[in-house]
């Protein structure tokens, strides 16, 4: 996976509301039709990093099936960051797309 994409995916997933780590991993996997396989262990250092930057906040809570889990939520700063990252990503993919098309043509 590209550097920084995991951060983008996490922020994107959290836009629908607070979620715990396992939930985030599953959501990424499902929304991408099982295309993106995230190693769950790699998720946590990324969450840690985002939390330190103040883009997400975390607190312990109870999951739907009554288990204790650490829930992550998007902060206003994180929301701004998501918009920025999404725009950047879209520009990047569009650019790469154009290059690939011109090669083929």
């Amino acid at each position: 996976m590209l550097q920084g994409t995991l951060d983008l995916l996490i922020l994107r997933t959290l836009i629908f509301g607070p979620e715990h780590g396992q939930g985030i991993a599953r959501a990424i996997q499902q929304t991408s039709d099982e295309e993106l396989l995230v190693e769950h262990g790699a998720l946590y250092p990324a969450l840690q990093r985002l939390e330190e930057r103040g883009w997400i906040s975390a607190k312990w809570g109870i999951s739907t099936n009554n288990r204790k889990a650490r829930f992550y939520a998007l902060t206003p700063a994180g929301r701004k960051q998501l918009v920025k990252e999404t725009t950047k990503w879209n520009r990047l993919t569009a650019a790469i797309g154009r290059i690939l098309e011109s090669e083929e043509g």
């Binding site: 715990h20 599953r26 262990g41 946590y44 250092p45 330190e52 999951s63």
Partner: protein, 890 residues
């Protein structure tokens, strides 16, 4: 930034929760318990890796490592107490001494003026370069011009003097300042009790209000809380006390006496006893001023130059162009700090060098120890320790050592503070404000950290460059320094020697200067002579002055002389004014008088100026003055006889070159004194004497007859086998028998006066000497350490050489040569640096050139001698090596 970090167990719990949730989800999809758990783990990947990742990203990692480093460093320091003690003491000495000198520098040079906006404060000096006169003071109209110019907020001429305070048990003589009412407003200081003068007061004469110092309040008035409004009698005039300045308030004066002013009286300088305010009567003392806000000193100076030019045009008679009248603004800082600056900077530099030498020494010790720990370092590195971690470990040890050393140094400084302040010369400005406060503590901390960085760096760099394989290969021997390390250590020793040499040469030059000063031909004999002072009051109304004219004063003088001769042990007595006390007065006590020579056309404002002492005829014989031509004052030169004058050689040379001055006549103008318009005849020429300064005997000087001129600030000189305390009591009895209102004070022997005049020089010489000795000791220790190390390294080799029949003498010579090479290299580098430094301190030297070959050669030889001695001890150990033992060492 330092928000509480998640701990690792919280992170572990989260991971555990994740595995649980994932297992449950998989189980819901139909997997068995076991399979679900295994799949969850598989999907997660390496749990330990994630945890390590978490730990390393933790912001506290550096803290953990630092704690570890500190713990380890402490253990290492405890393990070798001898090494630690030497290293810590070296640094403690360096930091303690540097901090001590810094506290003086901080109070004196960095904060010389404890007043608001000190940068606005200036001294106003009037110069007449055309007649060779500097700082002659100003006239009242000139002062008013300055006040109105808009260049200044306030201008205050400050006149100091002695005054008799009567009314308490014993007439006290105190030092007072006559200042305009704006004085305290100018300085921006407030009294602790009552009020100060109203700056808008325009009384022409004295306002009859005084402000007193805390010392006078507590000393003479017993701290009376109802002091305000009390009347005191000063030289017969009644004044009212309106305020008490705070304890620790000191005047920004140039002399110790001015700084210790005890009373301030306000005057407009325009009414009696001041002479009429005319432009050419420059009787006001030099002023201090606060320049208008927003102006820099340079801007104020250029506006002032324009003002002076326009005044010169407006009053051409009062300001002839030849006299070159000029008004200079000097930052008050400079006049307060004065000549102490050079000495203090020198001291600070010297003590800094000692600290640096201490650092180099400790760097050397640490390196030596690092080489003993080479294998440990190599092993740790082989086991996976990062080089940066090893380097930070070494650096931590250095810093820790420095901090412990700094703390010990400060502790010593705190204990020794009182006795250190004792040895400071009294003439040091701001002596009372020296303290160990926060800036000083901060300085000590920064100095310690820098020192630690300096001597921790050498072994740290070394640790970062270890070559593992050879290190690990050396099995039982455990240690040898690499060639590179040995080179570093030698370079360090050479540095130490160079620095020490610089310091010792500076000390040597100062010592020689001081010695020369002590052995200078004085031109007078201070032995067994004492001066005791008294002060004749000057009432504001001249009509009530019982000693107004010399004729009125003469009977008093004769009676005191007659009575004093009867005191036990007294052989000779003379009376003079304060300026006649050799080396016992400051520049402010001198009055340069304008001279008018007979037969020479001189405009009044361009008359040359010369200092005068007013003395009774006995003065010359009592001081052993040498007569070159003519005669001294005689019995017949009394108040009725035509006024006579004795001049010194420099005076004769300056004004009558190649002529016989005896019989020439001149007038001495004293503002407001009509008697000064009579001609004075030169009757004698005496040899130049160093009565003004030990360094200089070339100033023109004249002596006036006390019976013909009169003086208020008197000194009674007595020669004989005297007891200081007894003579003061005896003279007081005799003087007060003649006039019970007079104070008798300030007894000092001329030898003391001489010694006091050298106090700052002596102090800096002693300090530098002490620092130089410390430096020598440290350099000796340094070279001893390196040579010992070389010897222990080569024990085996020496053993083989001895076994093969080498002469012990040759071995000794070989070792000594190594030490000598280092010492000579250090001395060579040091000599070059010393040449630069000695030129920088040339201003502090007297009678010795900054390149004095004797000092340079002597100090270099001394240093090399010490080096040889320091090498001889380990070298002797080398030749005592038993070849058998040395070879078995393998």
């Amino acid at each position: 930034m330092f928000q509480r970090k998640r701990n690792a167990s919280d992170f572990g719990a989260e991971i555990e929760a994740h595995i649980q949730l994932e297992t449950e989800r998989l189980r819901e999809l139909g997997l068995s318990d076991e399979d679900a758990r295994a799949a969850a783990h598989r999907a997660f990947g390496n749990v330990t890796h994630a945890q390590e990742h978490f730990y390393e990203s933790s912001r506290w990692l550096w803290w953990d490592q630092l704690r570890q480093d500190i713990r380890y460093a402490l253990r290492m320091l405890r393990k070798s107490p001898g090494f630690t003690a030497v290293a810590v003491l070296t640094i403690a000495l360096g930091i303690g001494a540097t901090t001590a000198i810094f506290s003086v520098v901080d109070a004196t040079l960095l904060h010389p003026l404890p007043y608001p906006q000190p940068e606005q404060l200036v001294r106003v000096e009037d110069d007449l370069p055309g007649v060779g006169a500097q700082d002659v003071g100003m006239s009242v109209p000139e002062w008013q011009d300055l006040q109105r110019s808009g260049i200044f907020q306030y201008v205050s001429p400050v006149g100091g003097g002695s005054v008799n305070l009567t009314g308490s048990s014993q007439p006290a003589r105190i030092f007072f300042l006559a200042v305009p009412p704006n004085y305290f407003a100018l300085l921006g200081v407030k009294p602790q009790l009552g009020r100060s003068f109203n700056p808008e007061d325009h009384t022409p004469g004295f306002t009859l209000e005084v402000v007193i110092s805390d010392g006078l309040w507590k000393g003479v008035f017993g701290g009376d809380p109802h002091i305000l409004g009390r009347s005191v009698r000063l030289d017969n005039d009644l004044y009212q006390i309106i305020g008490v300045m705070p304890a620790g308030y000191h005047d920004p004066g140039r002399t110790t006496e001015e700084r210790n002013t005890e009373l301030w009286a306000a005057t407009g300088f325009a009414g009696p006893p001041a002479p009429p305010p005319v432009r050419k009567s420059r009787f006001l003392s030099p002023a201090i001023a606060r320049i208008a806000p927003g102006l820099t000193i340079a801007q104020a100076q250029s506006r002032l130059d324009a003002l002076v030019a326009s005044l010169q045009k407006q009053f051409p008679e009062d300001y002839p162009l030849q006299s070159g009248w000029r008004v200079r603004l000097v930052p008050l800082t400079e006049t307060v700090v004065g000549n102490v600056r050079e000495s203090l900077i020198l001291l600070f530099g010297a003590v800094g060098l000692v600290l640096l030498i201490g650092c180099v020494n400790d760097a050397n010790l640490l390196l030596a120890r690092a080489s003993g720990r080479g294998r440990e370092m190599a092993l740790r590195q082989a086991l996976g320790a990062a080089r940066t971690r090893l380097m930070s470990q070494m650096l931590t040890e250095g810093l820790l050592l420095a901090l412990v050393g700094g703390t010990v140094g400060l502790a010593i400084l705190f204990c020794a503070k009182a006795s250190l302040l004792q040895i400071m010369p009294d003439s040091l400005p701001r002596l009372h404000d020296i303290s160990i406060d926060w800036p000083v503590l901060l300085f000590a901390l920064v100095a310690s950290l820098m020192a630690g960085a300096i001597f921790g760096l050498a072994p740290a760099l070394h640790a970062g460059r270890l070559d593992l394989i050879p290190m690990l290969k050396q099995e039982a021997r455990g240690s040898t320094g690499s060639g590179e390390q040995a080179r570093t250590r030698r370079a360090l020793v050479v540095t130490e020697f160079a620095l020490s040499l610089v310091l010792m040469i500076a000390a040597g030059l100062l010592l020689r200067s001081f010695w020369d000063l002590l052995n200078v031909r004085l031109g007078f004999n201070p032995q067994n002579v004492m001066a005791v002072r008294t002060w004749l009051p000057v009432p504001n109304d001249p009509a009530t002055d019982v000693y107004r004219t010399p004729a009125q004063e003469a009977p008093f003088i004769r009676e005191v002389l007659r009575r004093s001769r009867t005191l036990p042990g007294v052989e000779e007595v003379a009376i003079g004014d304060l300026a006649a006390v050799p080396l016992g007065h400051s520049r402010g006590d001198l009055n340069p008088f304008p001279l008018i020579f007979e037969g020479r056309e001189t405009a009044s404002s361009e008359a040359p100026l010369a200092n005068a002492s007013i003395v009774s005829p006995e003065y010359f014989h009592l001081l052993g003055t040498t007569l070159l031509r003519g005669r001294f004052f005689g019995e017949l030169d009394d108040e009725k006889a035509p006024p006579v004058l004795v001049i010194n050689e420099a005076f004769a040379r300056t004004y009558w070159p190649n002529e016989n001055p005896v019989g020439k006549r001149l007038k001495i103008r004293i503002p407001g004194d009509r008697s000064s318009f009579s001609w004075n005849t030169v009757v004698g020429v005496v040899a130049d004497a160093r009565t003004e300064s030990l360094e200089d005997s070339t100033a023109p000087q004249m002596y006036l007859n006390l019976y013909q001129r009169g003086a208020k600030d008197l000194a009674i000189f007595v020669r004989g086998r005297l007891d200081t305390a007894a003579i003061l009591v005896g003279l007081r009895e005799q003087v007060q028998f003649v006039n019970p209102e007079l104070p008798v004070f300030g007894a000092q022997t001329l030898d003391d006066a001489l010694s006091t005049s050298l106090s700052v020089k002596r102090f800096s010489m002693q300090m530098i000497g002490l620092f130089a000795l410390t430096a020598l000791l440290l350099a000796g220790l340094g070279i001893y350490g390196v040579i010992s190390y070389i010897v222990s390294e080569r024990t085996h080799e020496i053993g083989i050489r001895l076994a093969l029949g080498a002469q012990r003498r040759n071995i000794l010579r070989m070792i000594l040569r190594q030490g000598l090479e280092l010492a000579i290299a250090g001395a060579a580098v040091g000599l070059v640096c010393a040449l630069i430094v000695s030129h920088l301190i040339a201003g502090l030297l007297y009678g010795v050139r900054p390149t004095d070959p004797l000092t340079f050669a002597g100090v270099a030889l001394l240093l090399i001698g010490v080096a040889l001695l320091a090498c001889y001890i380990p070298a002797r150990r080398a030749i005592r090596v038993d070849p058998l033992v040395a070879l078995r060492h393998e």
